[in-house]
Symmetry: C2
């Protein structure tokens, strides 16, 4: 995808979409490079006129070193120096990597639902479940720059201590269990029901399928727990909820979060927080990556670096 | 308690301890004032020579306005302007209020286990379960200054959706359920076993009492979930664990946290974090309150304000 950015405005002038290869990180990096060249060709622009490449990837990753530590949903992303490899594939172009959810939060802050907001949490519920935390006007990065992985906050315990955890709680892609993602993310919900798309689970629940309804209710409880925890522990003024599942299933994602905050969080932070849908839709990652590349190439972006 | 503070050194020169009244906030404020005057008398100091009062209270509260919004474990603490009331009771003395866990984190940072650490989380497991988050060298305060209530992050879901949540999950003092505090704090653990002190639950579990062992294991799972969530979402270099339960039951609090991080958190943040016991023991709140009063009276303390 090629875009121009002017202030808060991003114009996508050429697109190129490809399926993510499932056979190794090097193939995935080459596919990204091929896609970049194809989009530049479509836009009629030579590679050397490109200011910089902005690249978003699921995490955890280090946006400063450009290394993806591990990505549960992409094959072979295990300590991959993604920014450096892609730069090599693109004749040494400047590449800025950041986590998909960080990039989305940056985009929502600069030009979306969180414009000008100093304390907000971005949550995405799509294939996976992730987030980013902005507090006091700065993105919370942590000591290895991997903070914000809110989907991997355990929100469930095995309550029957006689059984082993793995008997009852579904395994998460991260290797743990009890994670919000393991209940509420699209891929996990679909797998638990034995289908390929979470939309089928929601449709079956609506038709009255008891097993689907139970899975949907569990997913609602997981995002509700996350919303209450975020409100009590992080005390933001805004929770921006993006991602395809959240967008299509507002009644099952945003509404349970709002209800749980109202009913279960401490009154002071509960009355100060709003849960709103993301403003930028499916392009949020691309818009964010462009803004990140523009800001970082200019030596800006202190609040998110 | 009366103390002098010189740099990172705090010397307690007189103490006065009283049980917290259970019959209203005004009685509690008066007891604090009486205690302050008694300690000053014991130290042979007149009230007007006191630089400032540092006051720590369970939260959520607003350290800037000095108002306690609500405190699950203190009777009548419901939107109480604690700092102003105490100042009135002490002839207009300057009173600086902050949450007990924030004050403890400040003390551990200035003179305890987190000296010089920019990214750490303080957790206390005692009567209740609370915390404070320091990220990038600043305390995370949030939009109503109530951030850090980590004990009220839900870590359990009702897994059997046919039942109501309240049937299986114990109610938390905050009114919610599933909170880490509801499983792992001393008061909750004792109540669940029908005794007055959590030490009896641990002792019974050690003797082989199955019900006590199950409660202890559940408490371990709750602090384990919290530790994994903190590591993945906040990515600190240090988790400092204080509080009387944590201090007496390291094998049941700190060890399960360490094990869970090692086994279940993402590798990058897991390898970067250490879980250590608090350095300051039972006096941490007093030492912290003195340091807070000293810093705030001098117009300092930007990192925690």
């Amino acid at each position: 995808m090629v875009a121009t950015a002017d202030g808060a405005r991003v114009d996508i002038i050429a697109r190129d979409e490809r399926a993510t290869p499932r056979d190794g990180a090097d193939k995935t990096v080459r596919a990204i490079a091929d896609s970049t060249r194809a989009a530049l060709d479509a836009a009629g622009l030579p590679l050397h006129e490109m200011l910089a490449v902005g690249l978003a990837s699921p995490g955890p990753l280090d946006h400063r070193t450009g290394v993806v530590h591990f990505s549960p949903n992409i094959v072979g992303f295990d300590e991959v120096p993604l920014a450096a490899w892609l730069s090599d594939e693109l004749d040494g172009a400047t590449v800025f990597l950041d986590r998909d959810t960080a990039v989305a939060a940056i985009a929502e802050r600069i030009t979306g639902a969180a414009r000008g907001v100093a304390d907000f949490v971005y949550i995405t519920v799509s294939t996976g479940l992730g987030g980013a935390i902005v507090s006091g006007g700065r993105m919370l990065r942590g000591v290895t720059n991997t903070a914000g992985e809110l989907g991997h906050w355990p929100v469930a315990l095995q309550m029957d201590v006689a059984r082993k955890d793995s008997d009852e709680l579904p395994r998460c892609g991260c290797g743990s269990y009890g994670c919000a993602e393991s209940f509420a993310a699209g891929r996990n919900l679909a797998q638990a029901f034995g289908v390929s798309d979470a939309a089928e689970v929601y449709a079956a629940a609506t038709r009255g399928d008891a097993r689907a309804a139970a899975l949907v209710e569990r997913a609602e409880r997981a995002v509700a727990a996350l919303a209450v925890g975020i409100t009590n522990a992080l005390n933001p003024s805004l929770i921006v909820v993006g991602g395809s599942v959240a967008e299509k299933q507002r009644a099952h994602v945003i509404e349970p979060m709002r209800r749980a905050i109202r009913e279960r969080a401490f009154a002071a932070p509960a009355s100060a927080v709003q849960v709103v849908p993301a403003a930028l839709g499916a392009d949020v990652g691309m818009v964010g990556a462009v803004l990140v590349a523009r800001e970082r190439a200019a030596g800006e972006g202190e609040w998110f670096l």
